[in-house]
């Protein structure tokens, strides 16, 4: 009822000023983004409103991120500093990155825009800016990077055309041809009566992107792709039913029951759950980690630890900087981790699951990730 009354009031104002009238919903997103994907992300974003309202927004995955900010902007007289009126609107950005393509798309909208009654619509201007592309030779931005409209026009047409950012496959830094990109979505709120101070916020929303062409080094993943760096993915290991029971139990013990793990050390605090692990891609260092862990297995279970198809498993994984050698300067008995013999099939399946996880999330060297054991 309240909303209807407000619209009635606005409609009345329309007759006077020719501005704000309720408008229909936005059209589906253009480009490779499906309307269903956008709607789904948008719905989830609403459910994470607090995170989404921050400058960095909320990243649902390495490939989906959203920003949703409800703005209430008061504009002040240049001379007297008295408030002259305000703008209200929701600034939405839905961002989609792609596995298999060095591309990211942004769907930006200004929704539910309205201004206070005392402001004249033709002078009430809101500009949305998209910055980060200037002077870049390693990427290309297409689509409008600055859109200026009156508040009324924003109400009628809340969406701007999709902005796409692409990067050539071979551009970027070795060894994985990585290109970093920080997109800043900003606003300029103006009342152009010549006597009102504009409000400028050039980075109201910041979106961090990385393009890569890691190729086969990534593991079980696509040759190239694009990710949002604000999402730290989580590797989930089911305790049962996934063919990795002994692996998952080992990780669970390392995280939650360190007294059951070796090396046995005072105050052991194993990372992965509340502090992330970081992927290690250097083959020599990974090998050093595993050798150090095998030394623990031999020390505790004896040289015959591998009999009957057992393998020395380690957590944090050998493919992380938190491994037994790299995190201890090769002093594995001080390690915040655990090594133990487990069923070789479970260990192998766990390794495949980890490689798939690295690939699916395009986790490169030193990228962070969490580990969770699910019941």
């Amino acid at each position: 009822m309240t909303r209807k009354l407000l619209y009635s009031l606005v409609a009345t104002l329309c007759l006077i000023t020719g501005t704000i009238v309720p408008a229909s919903a936005a059209s589906p997103a253009a480009g490779p983004i499906t309307a269903a994907a956008a709607a789904d992300l948008r719905q989830d974003c609403e459910a994470h409103r607090n995170e989404a309202a921050g400058q960095r927004g909320w990243a649902r995955s390495r490939f989906e991120q959203c920003h949703r900010q409800s703005k209430y902007i008061t504009l002040y007289d240049t001379n007297t500093l008295e408030p002259k009126g305000h703008f209200e609107f929701d600034l939405w950005t839905l961002a989609f990155a792609y596995d298999g393509t060095r591309r990211v798309d942004y769907v930006i909208s200004v929704e539910n825009a309205k201004q206070s009654q005392q402001l004249n619509d033709q002078w009430s201007l809101l500009t949305v800016t998209f910055t980060g592309c200037a002077s870049r030779t390693d990427l290309t931005c297409t689509g409008p990077q600055e859109v200026e409209k009156t508040i009324g026009d924003w109400y009628y047409q809340p969406h701007i055309d999709t902005i796409s950012v692409t990067s050539p496959d071979t551009a970027g830094a070795a060894p994985f041809a990585t290109v970093g990109f920080d997109a800043s979505i900003g606003i300029v709120a103006e009342y152009r009566d010549g006597r009102t101070r504009p409000l400028v916020d050039s980075s109201s929303q910041v979106n961090r992107v990385r393009f890569d062409s890691a190729g086969s080094a990534l593991g079980n993943g696509k040759y190239k792709g694009t990710v949002f760096l604000d999402h730290t993915p989580t590797l989930v290991l089911p305790l049962t039913g996934a063919g990795i029971d002994e692996e998952a139990r080992h990780v669970d013990d390392a995280l939650h029951h360190t007294e059951r793990t070796f090396p046995s050390s005072l105050g052991k605090n194993v990372p992965g759950e509340t502090r992330p692990l970081h992927r290690l891609m250097d083959a020599t260092q990974r090998s050093s980690n595993h050798s150090a862990s095998v030394g623990i297995c031999r020390n505790i279970w004896g040289d015959g630890y591998a009999a009957g198809g057992q393998e020395c498993d380690e957590y944090p994984f050998q493919s992380t900087y938190e491994g037994s050698a790299t995190s201890t300067n090769n002093q594995p008995y001080t390690w915040n981790g655990s090594a133990r013999p487990i069923n070789g099939d479970h260990n192998g399946a766990g390794g495949t699951k980890l490689a798939n996880f690295y690939g699916a999330n395009r986790i490169l060297d030193n990228d962070a990730f969490y580990v969770k054991v699910s019941p």
Partner: protein, 257 residues
């Protein structure tokens, strides 16, 4: 092997590979070879719990059954999982960890899986532990390759640590293998305590036992090798302790399955 020390023990870890046991013939009644680790919860060594492997021969069938048992509460023999028809040759791990800080109950783990909890014990800690083989029913015509019981205890810092060699004693009784002796009562164990250096002390990494198949008159005149028949160099006090442990074991055997 027995460990008797002034330092408090709050838990125990034991691991060993299941050996392939050879029995010289069929068994008319159940024959059990236990590789057991027993954790005493009073100083008189009358209260305890234990875990290990039971290799049972009945008829011509042999089964391998891990188990645990709470002697203090006479709650009986608890099978862990189902019996296997042979050794999987893997190292298996047993642990007893206090159910909580200061608890007088212990959680029992087999290959890191919680398999049970002891009843209340008289003390939350221990000074005495025993590990090794207990054989019933078929002493002579049986053998097994070397097993290495790698045993540690949980100290007050909740760290598993090895025993000081000086806190341990060993016993390995031999049968009568003199010429003309009955083959059923001729046996011997080849034993050793493996150690690792740690500062000025030697720490026990494993209690190693082999049971060869022997016949009367084939070895009786052979003196045991140094370090293999370690009971012979035990002092009087240790002998008494070990004898007492043996008595306890003999009594306990009566209440196993």
């Amino acid at each position: 092997m027995c460990a008797d020390q002034s330092q408090y023990m709050y838990g125990v870890f034991a691991t060993f590979a299941y050996p392939g046991v050879t029995f010289g013939g069929a068994a008319s009644w159940p024959v059990d070879f236990y590789n057991e680790t027993e954790f005493f919860t009073d100083d008189l060594m009358t209260k305890s719990f234990a875990f290990g492997l039971d290799v049972r021969r009945q008829g011509t069938a042999t089964t391998y059954q891990p188990y645990w048992i709470d002697y203090t509460n006479f709650s009986g023999y608890r099978s862990i999982g189902t019996a296997a028809g042979g050794s999987d040759l893997k190292v298996h791990t047993f642990m007893a960890i206090p159910s909580c800080s200061g608890c007088t109950t212990w959680d029992i783990f087999y290959d890191y899986v919680h398999v049970g909890t002891t009843g209340g014990q008289p003390s939350p800690s221990s000074h005495h532990l025993m590990t090794g083989w207990l054989l019933t029913g078929m002493y002579g015509p049986s053998s097994f390759p070397q097993t290495r019981n790698r045993v540690m205890f949980l100290d007050g810092n909740y760290q598993f640590v090895r025993f000081d060699r000086a806190a341990t004693s060993v016993r390995a009784p031999a049968g009568d293998c003199s010429i003309g002796a009955h083959p059923d009562y001729c046996w011997r164990f080849d034993t050793a305590v493996s150690t690792a250096s740690g500062g000025t002390a030697q720490y026990v990494t494993s209690w190693d036992v082999t049971k060869p198949m022997v016949q009367p008159g084939t070895f009786a005149t052979t003196a045991p090798e140094a370090g293999q028949r370690a009971a012979q160099d035990a002092d009087d006090e240790t002998d008494q302790l070990v004898e007492r442990a043996q008595q306890i074991v003999d009594q306990r055997l009566k209440i196993r399955r």
